[in-house]
């Protein structure tokens, strides 16, 4: 790697549970310079909007400053923030551990933020509320899931829920992501990945896939930006799973990675050969599959991708080469040993709850009450 990784740690006096880039405007090619964070486990939780100096055309010696986020505005949030997404460019939807979901509007003219609408009591056990665990957004449609096993479909423009799938799951749904316009993928705490067709009249999942072997929980899920049938999941025992929804009943590959629950997995939106994971063990890993299957020469064969804690085992960038088919997507290649894995923040101790990447800037939200911004070298 030609240039090194630069990072900045900003302490924000609240544990960050979710961090999210504002989606870049489609009309312009410029990258977004705004992101939103949600906090958890505090007496007063907050949704905060941050500004980061322009990502592009930055002089090297100014980099340090450019990586320091500046607070734009904030709003109070009731309960832990468990899910956070943009619905459009200035509306943010946040789910709460109190079972409600709220829309926050960012008023750009006055640089303030306020609640636009709040769906109360979406998730509950009978009379008493239970946490909403995650949400997913596609256009104006919001899907939420809770510890009650319910899934609720909302429209950002409509006050009453569009649909409630009462018994979506017997165990808790921990992660949601849209597969296509009307289909969502969910992962649960018994190691299953399910797809739901929101148009279907049945409440049953369209497809159920599962991790075989010992029961393990899945905590996070993301879908390949170009090929939606490729899905990555993060599990409670630190394993990164790659799934192919077209054929398999179980994951294509399970890569032992972190030494604790993987709270988020995220594909790079434009460089889909790159994937990022963050974990309770305090590490953030960059998975680079761009070299997988690139060469047909078999050099070294090392089976397994076992990794110790903190990514120490990967600090030497293992460059194993394997033959592979060019036509197959790199993530599905049966030999993933040529995957390059980098640990990005070695000196972090406390859990990293959330990551998001836009262009070359990675954001991490941690339990040490900090936001870590990392500038990565350009990606292949």
């Amino acid at each position: 790697m030609a240039d090194s990784i630069q990072s900045f740690v900003k302490f924000v006096s609240r544990k960050i549970s979710k961090i999210k880039w504002q989606p870049s405007q489609k009309q312009t090619l410029e990258c977004s310079d705004t992101f939103v964070t949600g906090s958890w486990d505090d007496e007063k939780n907050k949704i905060c909007l941050w500004h980061l100096g322009m990502q592009e055309s930055m002089e090297r010696d100014e980099m340090d400053d450019a990586l320091e986020p500046a607070l734009k505005c904030e709003a109070d949030h009731n309960g832990d923030v468990t899910g956070l997404e943009y619905v459009g460019s200035d509306v943010i939807v946040a789910s709460s551990s109190t079972g409600s979901v709220a829309l926050y509007k960012h008023h750009t003219s006055s640089q303030t933020m306020g609640i636009q609408y709040k769906w109360q009591c979406l998730h509950s056990h009978g009379n008493h509320l239970c946490p909403c665990t995650c949400l997913a957004v596609r256009d104006k449609t919001i899907v939420t899931a809770g510890e009650d096993g319910k899934m609720v479909v909302l429209s950002a423009e409509q006050k009453s829920p569009q649909r409630i799938i009462e018994n979506a799951d017997s165990s808790t749904i921990n992660g949601l992501v849209f597969l296509r316009h009307t289909e969502v993928i969910s992962v649960n705490s018994s190691g299953q990945l399910k797809t739901y067709d929101l148009r279907s009249s049945s409440d049953a999942p369209a497809q159920t896939l599962s991790v075989s072997g010992e029961l393990t929980s899945l905590h996070s899920v993301d879908r390949h930006p170009g090929q939606p049938h490729i899905v990555a999941t993060g599990s409670g025992d630190g394993v990164l799973g790659i799934w192919d929804l077209r054929q398999e009943k179980s994951p294509v590959s399970l890569l032992e990675a972190h030494n604790g629950p993987v709270w988020e997995v995220k594909f790079h939106k434009t460089n889909s050969d790159h994937l990022f994971t963050c974990s309770e063990d305090g590490a953030v890993w960059h998975w680079d599959s761009s070299l997988v299957g690139a060469s047909h020469m078999v050099q070294t064969q090392i089976t397994g991708t076992g990794a110790g804690s903190g990514g120490a085992n990967f600090s030497v960038n293992p460059s194993f080469q394997f033959g592979g088919s060019e036509t197959l997507n790199k993530w599905l290649s049966p030999d993933n040993s040529k995957m390059e894995i980098n640990s990005l923040i070695d000196d972090n101790i406390l859990p990293v709850n959330s990551v998001d990447i836009e262009s070359q800037t990675l954001l991490c939200g941690t339990d040490s009450e900090s936001i870590i911004t990392i500038r990565l070298p350009s990606m292949r």
């Binding site: 007496e43 832990d80 165990s171 921990n174 599962s210 029961l215 040490s368």
Partner: protein
């Protein structure tokens, strides 16, 4: 960091039921539970009944560490702390000592960074009360940084050849910035000598050893060309620099040079070269280290510890840290009339007297939040400054006690508890016990939080705590009628008992409604079902239904029999199993072999005898409907047997 004497916080409780007294019990960390009543003097003495609703009140007090700015410091310093503990296991000797010094500087940098933050906030806030609060924090943080840096010089840095004065001068320069500021102001003036501060500034600079700046100011004086000025500037410029000792020249060499130089100053002074200008004379008297002159310029080297360093500089520049205390009395006496010695003074005094324990003890009361003492003591411990023989409990426990105290205040915070965990990890003696107790008290608001705490337990092999967390979460799910979710928790903690209970609940639901719930979980149990026999049975039984509905009758029949033979099924479920065999027996195709049929008959026989016995014993037996079903089953079995024998025989004959 409230100073003990000033802030006594009061909180009024207006409750008439408390008129007979108030009792209290400690909660976790900064928490107290209050309830009405008084301690009974005699065991039979009863509290008078007030006839009112008596309430238990929870009293919590915020400590400044919970303030947003200081919270940043808590998290920042946490990293330094953990890294140092890691290094302690890897490095030894000089390399480790360098690391300790780095950590100390890092801690100070943290304090300074947040001083700046506080300063900015004081500038931007409009709320007077808040400003006052910030000022208070700022003041204490300033003091803590001042003490820390002195301790760093005296206890951690241990300069080359035991020389402390150069470091102490740096310390003066950093913390007594008036001299530098006045100098900057004067340099902007056209005629600095006309300002009243001119000579004061020169004295201050000389007293802090900032010779170069003093010379520059002197050279701006209109009389600079006169002999006395020139002589003095010359003397100042030739003052031997202590910093050269670091650059290779020996202490003895320096000592010699210094003595020569001072003799020269003395000679010039005695020759009355400066008698025309009393200010110049004062400067030269300082250079000579004359005892009396320091009292004369005491306003320029206020407070006493400033004077102490100035005196040390001119009277004995190569003084060792352990000898500094000889100067203390004289310097304190010079200021005694004007100011009372405060807490800060006594801490610095102890530091200069090399009394580490007193420093720690006093700091603990001044900085009530524990941050300061916990981190400083840890550093001193790693430096080997805490000798165990001087303390009743040994040095490890001194450090540990303070770390526990600090961790305790973190553990009582809503959010910072996670930082507290790390500190407890590094308390070898009691940390684990404390952590176990604290973890039991953290509310499990959501599954995610439960998962996080579970991970903390698992990392530390706290199986009991982990099991109890899973139990709490699982029971909560059961109460909320989320049996599937409950099972995932019990599987996680491998809780055989509760997994069995749940499996029985599922089976009960099935036998009541004829339908399975939570299929999405049961069908995917895989090897986890082996945790409990009942769960295995549930999984297998469900598999039987699946096979049956898929038309795999032979496999279904085999499985059913296997379930009966392996005695995995609870006895009361046998009937259900046997009746499930009925449709298989009634198929035109032969499912059960003669051997299997005999086995089934044996099971049926066993069951009926047991029930007959049971009926005799406690009057329980089959219902009429059940009896009918069993009769049908008996019939079906006896029909199947010849059919099977016949078929098997045919095969044999062929």
């Amino acid at each position: 960091m409230a100073e003990r004497e000033r802030d006594i916080q009061t909180c009024c409780i207006s409750d008439t039921s408390c008129q007979f007294g108030l009792q209290s019990v400690w909660g976790t960390g900064n928490q107290l539970f209050l309830f009405p009543g008084k301690n009974p003097l005699l065991s039979n003495e009863r509290r008078p009944a007030t006839g009112k609703n008596e309430q238990i009140r929870e009293v919590q007090w915020d400590i400044d560490l919970h303030h947003p700015v200081l919270r940043k410091m808590v998290n920042d310093s946490h990293n330094i702390f953990v890294n140092l503990q890691r290094q302690a296991t890897q490095l030894t000797g000089a390399a480790f000592h360098t690391q300790i010094l780095n950590s100390s500087r890092h801690y100070r940098a943290t304090q300074k960074a947040y001083l700046k933050d506080l300063d900015d906030m004081i500038g931007s806030t409009r709320d007077e009360e808040q400003r006052q609060q910030y000022m208070e924090h700022l003041k204490l943080l300033n003091i803590s940084e001042l003490i820390w840096s002195l301790c760093e010089i005296l206890f951690i840095e241990s300069p080359v050849g035991g020389l402390v004065v150069p470091k102490l001068l740096d310390w003066l320069k950093l913390h007594f910035i008036t001299a530098g500021r006045l100098f900057d102001d004067l340099m902007k003036e056209e005629q600095p000598e006309s300002k009243t501060t001119y000579w004061d500034t020169i004295f201050r600079l000389v007293l802090q050893g900032q010779i170069e700046k003093a010379c520059r100011l002197l050279s701006l004086h209109s009389a600079r060309q006169t002999d006395d000025f020139q002589t003095l500037i010359n003397l100042l410029k030739r003052m031997p620099q202590l910093s050269n000792v670091y650059k290779g020249s020996s202490v003895a060499e320096f000592d010699m040079k210094w003595r020569h130089w001072r003799d020269e100053c003395q000679r010039n002074y005695e020759e009355q070269k400066f008698s025309i200008n009393p200010n110049l004379e004062t400067v030269v008297r300082i250079l000579c280290g004359e005892d009396a002159v320091f009292s004369e310029v005491k306003d320029c080297c206020d407070p006493w510890y400033h004077m102490l360093i100035s005196k040390a500089l001119y009277q004995d520049p190569t003084v060792k840290a352990c000898d500094l205390h000889y100067y203390i009395q004289g310097c304190q006496d010079a200021y005694r009339s004007t100011t009372r010695l405060g807490e800060l003074d006594s801490i610095l005094l102890s530091a200069l007297e090399s009394d580490v324990y007193q420093v720690i003890k006093d700091s603990r009361t001044v900085f009530s939040n524990g941050w300061f003492v916990a981190h400083l003591t840890d550093l001193l411990h790693h430096c080997g400054q805490l000798d165990s023989h001087r303390l009743q409990f040994g040095s490890d426990l001194q450090r540990e006690f303070l770390l526990l105290e600090y961790a305790g205040s973190l553990m009582s915070h809503h959010s910072l508890w996670i930082v507290g965990v790390s500190y407890l990890d590094h308390c070898a003696e009691f940390g684990r016990k404390y952590l176990e107790l604290y973890l039991d008290h953290i509310p499990l608001d959501s599954e995610k939080k439960a998962n996080k705490i579970l991970k903390i337990c698992e990392d530390r092999n706290m199986t009991e705590q982990a099991k109890s967390i899973c139990k709490v979460m699982g029971m909560r799910c059961i109460r909320n009628k989320r049996l599937g979710a409950a099972l995932t928790w019990f599987l996680r903690s491998k809780d055989v008992g509760f997994a069995t209970v749940l499996a029985e609940k599922y089976l009960l639901e099935y036998s009541e409604s004829g339908e399975f719930t939570n299929l999405d979980l049961i069908d995917y149990l895989g090897p986890s079902m082996l945790l409990s026999n009942r769960l295995t049975f549930l999984g297998k039984y469900r598999e039987f239904h699946k096979l049956y509905s898929e038309g795999e009758y032979h496999a279904a029949g085999d499985l059913l029999l296997a379930l009966l033979q392996a005695r995995l099924a609870p006895k009361q479920f046998w009937i259900t199993l046997l009746i499930d065999a009925l449709p298989l027996l009634e198929k035109t195709e032969l499912i059960f072999s003669s051997q299997q049929t005999r086995e089934l008959m044996k099971c049926l026989e066993e069951l009926t005898t047991e029930y007959k016995l049971g009926k005799k014993r406690d009057g329980l037996g089959f219902t009429e409907a059940r009896k009918d079903q069993l009769d049908v089953l008996k019939l079906a079995l006896s029909r199947n047997l010849p059919k099977a024998i016949l078929q098997e025989g045919t095969v044999n004959l062929l």
